[in-house]
């Protein structure tokens, strides 16, 4: 997706810096600190900016990494290189433990929860005997290769920046993959992602661990750079600081984390060394100015500095079109299967005293278009939510091909070949149409996060994108493939949702008001598409208010009013049904 050239240039530039004649050693120290901070910020970018999980507790994970190596290399004399995997493992494992309690937290509880355990762990670091209490642990051995010891800031510089650049590459690879799309969809709520088989708690846990391991790596490097650790840099202040570094840089961008680290570290340094010259005599002037500058920076660029800088560059013109000759495996459709695809029997849903769906029964046969109509509040969308597992029915049963799915979660329903669109569009606006649609094919890919980071997923990925591109062209949005989904008109976004649903390779397509916001010609094109799909062997269940559209398209119509089914039949019989006319017009005809 992204060109690797700028990263290569950046890496060469960073490699060349220590060789610049007359480079003050102090600048190298500063660059070391930027690198260490950038690692943590990068994890936060993924966690907070991309995944929407705000954490104040990252400093504690830096602490885990640093203390693990400090204890092992001083008390037990383990080689620093052996403690590296252990530091990462400890951070990762503790992330699993803390994640189990924290990741489930919703809304504002999450950041505050992380703040709470961040503080608690800080006090724990400073009270535990074997961690040296407030004094910490000193005389940590330096990193060494053979007899070469990385004692100076200049020698560990390479270790730090190799870690930063490799981590950035791995993180970007992760984001540009099947798992990455699932992560990027997290911030927009879980319903849409789950409808396509994404296990959202697992995806959240994954980013949480990823961020923690990056922080642990930073801690490990920190311990061997300073060769001493104490609790101070792992406290709540530091945790808060890491978060604002990510926000200042641009919380949604991997390089924003690096840029934020550079801005904040340099700014603090400049303030600390030059401010006393201007305003002599006072202790904490730099904190004051720093705080004020932070607020000013946010007011000028609330999205962060990186996207603000990027907006000056010419916009990248479209990605390349995926090779649509690649095919994914298709669902096997047993020829002799029963003709009843979906059977809803006496489904009932109560919200407190309100009966949203009252003992509704209907079925959908193979190769059939069924329309669910009724006035507003008739329970149509609730019925959809019952079928797709977003809500579970109070009583009654729903079966797919004869198997009961009453209590199945959305992820299981979609595996059975039922996919849906939403009444209120649920796309990720800052992802391209292609990426959004590819989420639909989530379950048809197999590569996990590790494979994605190492770019071992390319064959799998190419097939997923090919499928997505094929479906986009099928619905007639080939031109818009590389535009951001948020930039499309509402009608087009609905069509994108249909393409996403088609990526599941469904047997039954559930469409919630697909024609709303479409122009006349677009509606006709949609009707043609749906007929083609039916003739190709798919069934469609749709909720729609446009009667002309429904009457011309549907094979059968089910009418709901106040949660109760009042009629069912062909369009012709429904048109003349007195109950239906009464429900719509309020008087008996």
């Amino acid at each position: 997706m992204q060109s690797r050239l700028p990263i290569l240039i950046f890496a060469l530039l960073m490699a060349a810096i220590p060789f610049v004649p007359g480079m003050p050693p102090f600048w190298i120290v500063l660059l070391d600190n930027i690198g260490l901070t950038a690692l943590v910020a990068m994890g936060l970018v993924l966690l907070t900016g991309v995944g929407g999980l705000t954490s104040f507790g990252q400093a504690a994970f830096v602490g885990f990494g640093a203390y693990t190596t400090a204890v092992l290399s001083t008390a037990y004399g383990v080689s620093p290189w052996l403690t590296l995997p252990l530091s990462l493992l400890v951070s990762g494992l503790l992330a699993v433990l803390l994640g189990l309690v924290t990741v489930r937290l919703s809304g504002h509880y999450l950041p505050l929860g992380t703040l709470a355990w961040g503080l608690g762990l800080f006090y724990l670091f400073s009270k535990l005997e074997f961690l040296g209490r407030n004094d910490g642990i000193s005389a940590i051995p330096p990193l060494s290769i053979g007899s070469f010891k990385m004692l100076s800031p200049g020698s560990i510089y390479y270790a730090i920046w190799v870690a930063v650049i490799v981590s950035a590459l791995l993180t970007m690879n992760l984001l540009d993959s099947r798992t990455g799309r699932a992560i990027r969809a997290l911030r927009r709520g879980h319903v849409a992602a789950e409808a396509f088989g994404v296990h959202t708690p697992r995806a959240k846990m994954l980013v949480f661990i990823h961020a923690a391991v990056l922080a642990g790596l930073s801690g490990w490097l920190y311990a061997h750079l300073q060769r001493a650790v104490n609790p101070t840099p792992f406290g709540a202040q530091a945790g808060i600081e890491y978060l604002f570094i990510a926000v200042v840089g641009g919380a949604g961008y991997v390089w924003g984390g690096v840029l934020g680290a550079a801005i904040v570290v340099v700014l603090k340094e400049v303030l600390q060394s030059y401010l006393p010259l201007i305003l002599p005599g006072s202790g904490q002037v730099e904190t004051i100015v720093f705080g004020i500058m932070l607020v000013a920076l946010l007011q000028l660029a609330p999205g962060g500095v990186w996207p603000w800088l990027m907006s000056f560059l010419p916009e990248a013109t479209g990605g390349k079109k995926p090779d649509t000759s690649l095919k994914l495996e298709q669902r096997t459709r047993a020829p002799g299967q029963s003709s009843v695809l979906l059977q809803v029997e006496k489904a009932r849903k109560q919200f407190g005293g309100v009966i949203a769906v009252n003992n509704v029964s209907f079925d959908v046969q193979a190769r059939e278009i069924v329309a669910l109509i009724g006035p507003n509040g008739a329970g149509k969308s609730t019925t959809f939510n019952l079928i797709t597992g977003v809500l579970s029915a109070t009583s009654g049963s729903i079966s797919v091909l004869g198997n009961k799915v009453d209590r199945a979660p959305p992820q299981e329903i979609v595996k059975l070949g039922i996919s849906r669109t939403f009444q209120h569009v649920k796309l990720v606006p800052d992802m391209t149409v292609l990426e959004n649609v590819a989420i639909g094919a989530h379950l048809r890919g197999h590569c996990g996060p590790i494979a994605s980071m190492l770019r071992l997923d390319r064959a799998d990925e190419a097939k997923l994108l090919a499928e997505a591109a094929r479906q986009i062209e099928r619905v007639g949005l080939g031109e818009q493939m590389h535009q951001l989904a948020g930039s499309l008109s509402l009608g087009q976004q609905r069509i994108v949702e249909i393409a996403r649903a088609l990526c599941v390779d469904p047997m039954l397509l559930l469409l919630d008001e697909p024609a709303a916001g479409l122009r006349h010609m677009e509606k006709q094109r949609l009707a043609t598409l749906l007929r083609e799909l039916r003739d190709g062997g798919m069934s469609v269940l749709l909720v729609e208010h446009d009667m002309g559209f429904v009457m011309n398209l549907a094979d059968r119509i089910v009418v709901l009013d106040f949660g109760t089914k009042i009629a069912e039949g062909t369009p012709a019989t429904i048109k003349t049904n007195p109950e239906v006319i009464k429900a719509y017009l309020g008087v008996a005809a």
């Binding site: 604002f244 202790g283 705080g291």
Partner: protein, 346 residues
Amino acid sequence: MNTTIMLFLLQDGITNGAIYALLGLALVLVFAVTRVILIPQGEFVTYGALTYASLAAGQMPGTAKLALALGIGAFAFDMFAARKALHGRLVLRSVLTNIVLPAVVLALTITFAAQKPPVAVCIALSLVIVAMIGLYLYRIAFQPLAHTSVLVLLIASVGVHLALQGLGLLFFGAEGQRGPAVLSGSFTAGALRFTGQSITVYGITIAFIVGLWLFFGLTLYGKALRATAVNRLGARLAGIRTTLSGQIAFLLASVIGALSGIMIVPITTLYYDSGFLIGLKGFVAAIIGGLVSYPLTAVAALFVGLVEAFSSFYASNYKEVIVFMLLIPVLLLRSLAAPAVEEEKD
């Protein structure tokens, strides 16, 4: 442990808990109305406390000057925001609230500080000074960011906290201070000794909780604030000026913070940076209360105070660990109990 110690711990816990309750209430209020997680709440506490202590000791507090400086800043922001449609009344009102008011207060502070004013004057001046700081801070730091995400507001809040804490060191020095008791005297009931100060703490906390309850339940401004909290856009469409709601929320929060500070500074020595931790414990209470419920927050705050008091007796080393870790099970219960609603995030 004997009964006397237990009663003593209980009393200590309730006194601290009452303070946390007030701070928790303020945090809930500000968050609900403006979506700002008010980290500088702790600075309002120290500013109130140390301004009061300085005044009582006959020293000139730097906070009065800060109020004027911020007022001038707020005036500049007002003028810049209204640059396309400046008219007399608007300018006059801005000058009065942002420049004349803090200037008058500064003049009063200078006159009084020299002659060791009585306790009541110290309290009044401290409250007004901190209230103005809160008001102007909202105008300068948060109002321009009102449309952004909770995260950005939070980071801005951290920035304000850092700046205020640094200024606190500048104004009050690194030395801790204590102030004179608001209400001196004491009486004993059985094994317990009640000081006038602790009675004041209970009284004011209860008065505030009842006051806030009446304010939100009965007054038009209170209802406007609640409406803003529920739905900003809806409130604006109904003609509520959401910036006014934000100003009221910050005003109340800073007054509550300063008052809490004034109440505890006679009991404990406060330093320029003590506020942060006190504020955070108010937070713990607010979160346990779910950031929405006032009575629940008050109950939770008492609980936090008690846990703190008892853990300082049993495991004083781990006091802070226990208080902050307390949150995790509570948060977990809350988020499990909450229905899985779809959140539309920014």
